[in-house]
Amino acid sequence: MSAPDADLQPGSLDELPGDLMMWVLIVSELLVFGAGLAAFLGVRIADPAGFAEARTHLHPAPAGINTIILITSGFLAAKALEFGASRRTTTIRWSLVAAMGLGGVFLVIKGYEFADMVGNGITTETHPLFTFYYLLTGFHAAHVLAGIGILALVAWKNTVRNLEVGTAFWHMVDLVWVLLFPVIYLLG
């Protein structure tokens, strides 16, 4: 009798829930945003007083509301995946539509923040804090927009595998925000 094929043995990678490639993406995104946050605090070392003054022009209250919006949206996406196991298609779709709606509200609030700051003459050139602010939160907002599109596709083609991949992307956006928000708005 031949030994079982080594390729068929379960390895630690097989323990990961969902799609392996999505985890590769999650780690990649964490590295990119993580490097950005470390660079942000690294540049702050040279001018802590300037950063403290510049931070007073940010909008922590709307950003705090956006934190609640995003984690609630993540909750709805996680519930959609749970409903996926029991194939409750209508409930899955409504959960995802609600998650997407909250993502839309997040972008509207972010748009208000950007519009107000640009209206006050604050651009990427004004101070290094704002360079990082526009770059990191703008890049994150682009991910929110992409995530809304992905959730829409998953609501349409809602197989369990699609739900796992789509909601994992959405949670990655959530994960990045819970690191971004405190560093930029509270510590910057």
Binding site: G64, D174, L175, P182, L187
Partner: protein, 90 residues
């Protein structure tokens, strides 16, 4: 009655977010910069742990959950070091 783990995770995230903002506001009331930095980053790390475990389902993979927790914890320590560097260097 058993509580839904995802609902519990959502509630934990709300509480931790509130605590994080409260810690930053207390900074204005004279709490030391280092204490605020420790608290805000500790809460951020705890929130990341909840999202990884419950929203992303890593509770099913203890090996990976532990690995992510360690790496994110070390990353938060790096951020804390960078945040406190100006205070230490004065």
């Amino acid at each position: 009655m058993k509580t839904d783990p995802i609902l519990r995770a959502w509630f934990s995230l709300l509480v931790l977010s509130g605590a994080s903002v409260a810690a930053a506001f207390i900074a204005g009331a004279g709490m030391g910069e280092s204490v605020v930095g420790v608290l805000v980053l500790l809460f951020a790390w705890m929130k990341a742990r909840v999202i990884l475990a419950r929203y992303l389902g890593l509770w099913q993979a203890p090996f990976w959950q532990s690995g992510f927790n360690w790496v994110l914890g070390l990353f938060c320590l790096l951020l804390l070091g960078l945040y406190l560097a100006p205070t230490v260097m004065v």
